[in-house]
Symmetry: C2
Subunit: 215 residues, 2 copies
Amino acid sequence: MTAKKESPPISVQTLRRLPLYLNHLKSLDSEKIKIISCPAIAKALNLNEVLVRKDLASIKSGGRPRTGYLLEKLITDLEMYLGYGNVDEAVLAGVGHLGRALLSYKGFETYGLNIVVGFDTDDKIIGTEVGGKKVLPLEKLTGLCKRMHVNIGIITVPPDKAQAVCDLMVSAGIQAIWNFAPVKLVVPDDILVQNENMASSLAVLSKHLKKKIKK
Amino acid sequence: MTAKKESPPISVQTLRRLPLYLNHLKSLDSEKIKIISCPAIAKALNLNEVLVRKDLASIKSGGRPRTGYLLEKLITDLEMYLGYGNVDEAVLAGVGHLGRALLSYKGFETYGLNIVVGFDTDDKIIGTEVGGKKVLPLEKLTGLCKRMHVNIGIITVPPDKAQAVCDLMVSAGIQAIWNFAPVKLVVPDDILVQNENMASSLAVLSKHLKKKIKK
DNA sequence: ATCATATCGATAATTGTTTATCGATTAAGC
DNA sequence: GCTTAATCGATAAACAATTATCGATATGAT
């Protein structure tokens, strides 16, 4: 009825695995290996064979029975699908330890992300440069985002400031937020928040050490 | 049959939410608020009311109908359950941008983690200090971990080195690994790997901007 | 004292994700 | 050329997690 020729819906979980596949495939020597199979990928990454096949099916890079997938084609298909190459621009709020690390990190461009500027409220660091990126006062965030049509925001501020900064970003037209603060942000439905929650991860780690985790 | 008096199994997903509850509860003014209800927490964190109740039930801090939970007791129960206070020691391998940020970050002790030392292979940084923590050559990792009975390892090395470092940590007796490299590590069953995968998160972010995510 | 209401606690239904199964297909060996 | 074996692709089953429903209970109002 309504179904036009849309990209097939893909689950977040699958999407999160795609970069792992891509990374693994790239690490292979494409001179020696021309063809790669799902069982081989699954074994290397310690995943279920069928899961890998299902994931790859969702990006439509048809394989051939008995042999597998063409390595080169699979890599380019994955890169195309993930949009590597089309670099999105992002702004970062909170130039503390973590913020500095992210601003300085050179590897994001590989994944299609370019942090153009950092924002902070501390006069001592405003005006400085970190990793070649300027640090501006937070008040300028809205103007800059609107002017440059930036639609990714990275939050590395303390937890108590996170929601306020988040609201600011949303009002500035940011579409997706990468949140490193240990807080659940409240946003409108059409805005995506991707949490990189260290506190959550630590909870899992430390609980494992106390051997109380399920299974 | 075999079931003794064990802690009830708790899912990883629930466990990951507990720090968020704790953080939110702590942000409340315990002078003014003595009692807190599930619906209130759920609303503040944009979660389902029943989900919150179910999560809290798993740490057994019984609430009272019509009123809710005692705020102070709930906080201490959560802290007790998450083991905040009992600080686990960790080592970090890979003193690059991200590694430096984590070494310098003061907030981990709050969550029960203390990074005691960093390891690297670069002679230029070996022997230096970052955030008050020494940087040692990677070869000393095994000896130090065994001697100090460190059981958490943090990996912030480049992807192609991650598995080797991981293997080294496992052989050194590390029980849980916090992995920041965009790689799926292969480890024995009894070792926990917690991935903080930036590439995966970025994939979700950038896909959202292209409006192809399911739902 | 009784009633209405908000919340807990448990159970059931729904949804989503991973694993297992089965037939179809194709390359290699005989 | 035919058989064998390995893999893809799709479907079905199992599992896990979230959301919805319902009764019980305690608080505050009448």
